[in-house]
């Protein structure tokens, strides 16, 4: 027999855990962007956001999306809302098409994620007015590297989600 109270608790913790992972990803992204010599960064927050929107679309609200976006804007020196807007669009699209995304193989998912990251980076190149050969090289390299990060992030967050949902 299902205990409703337990179910509520697990959803509650999942909601905050997803927020916490977004926060951690934002902090890591900020650290990486200050450590690396690239002008662009590895969009860990975006990948974590995609995961939670695909895995638990009903539990991932816009609050954490906006919160993590504002943190990135504040610490990476953008106008407030620049990250938030693209995160909101990414959330919308992933929540809209999560069934299709889930049905894909991991490698196909990686390619889709790489494509999203590619668009995301171009968005920042356009906003920042960086147009040079090196920035396009960075764009290609970081997109390629980020696509390798996807299976790792997917595995880690999946493990965490299963732990929090089923407790095993």
């Amino acid at each position: 027999m299902i205990n409703l109270n337990e179910k509520k608790t697990s959803i509650f913790s999942l909601y905050f855990s997803s927020g916490l992972t977004l926060l951690v990803a934002s902090i890591l992204e900020i650290i990486f962007s200050s450590l690396l010599w690239f002008r662009l960064s590895i969009p860990l927050t975006l990948m974590v956001l995609i995961y939670w929107n695909v895995a638990t679309p009903r539990n991932t609200g816009f609050f954490w999306t906006m919160f993590s976006g504002f943190i990135l804007d504040l610490y990476l020196g953008y106008f407030l809302g620049i990250h938030v807007i693209i995160f909101l669009f990414a959330s919308y699209l992933t929540q809209r098409y999560f069934h299709r995304f889930r049905a894909l193989f991991r490698i196909q998912q990686s390619i889709i994620v790489a494509a999203i990251i590619f668009i995301y980076q171009i968005y920042f190149i356009l906003i920042s007015n960086y147009f040079s050969t090196s920035i396009f090289a960075e764009l290609i390299v970081l997109t390629f590297i980020s696509s390798f990060f996807w299976p790792i992030i997917y595995g880690l967050l999946r493990y965490l989600r299963i732990k929090l949902t089923y407790g095993k």
Partner: protein
Amino acid sequence: MFSGEHKQTDIAQSAIFTTGSMRASRLYPAIFLTSLILYADYSLDLGSKIRLSISYIFSPLTQLEYFASDTYQAFNLYFSSQKRLIDKINSLEEKIIDLENTNISLINTKNSLNELEKIIGLSKSFDRKNIFFGKVQDYKKFPNERIDVEVRTENISKSMIVFNAFGLIGVIEEILNNSVKVKPLHDLSVKIPAKNLRTLENVIITGSGEPKSFFIEDFKKNGDVSLGDEIVTTGLGGKFPEGFSIGKVSSILENPESNFLNIKIQNNFDFKIGSTFLFTEP
């Protein structure tokens, strides 16, 4: 088995044409709010003010980083300075040991030089004679007291006598390849023609078998001898040179059953002292 795979494929195929319940209208409030904040930041520089406020609020945390950094540096400095000090102490201790070894070596060199100086001074008294030097290799006490001396000449003969820095100390017993065996003067088999420097009476000195100690052989009871009389070689017989001190009379004992006195002579220089020996013809 195959039915399970078909089921999975069916789910995947149906999922391709499925969309989530997410509607764009749910996004509008968030987009509106974000646009408002973006506009406010653009026109009122809201972001800078928030960054300033955040840095002010979190300044203790920033200070904490510096505090941690300073603490780490102080901690590190303490141990590194302590380590430097320990290294320096070890280095100085090694230097002290080196200096002590150098000092010992210099003392040995000084002693050797003094010894050589004395031997060379001694050699001046053998103006027209061939002299040879040898380095002491080994000292043996059993079965008989002997010293092996390394020599680098073939001109050593068995008739030669041996001096150290203090004086006459022995005779050659055996000549080997590049070395000689030296027998001490106090050996029981050695007999030295000598005289009492006070009375000029000739005597025969024999070894006692003990270092620094000799006897006068067959000295009659009515002879003139006193404690402290100095005995020197006479050079008679040609085996020992003339005028070298053997020692001084240290005891005179009278034996009622014998016509001779038992006279003991002692000197101050030891047979085994020294690292360089001098060989010459008597």
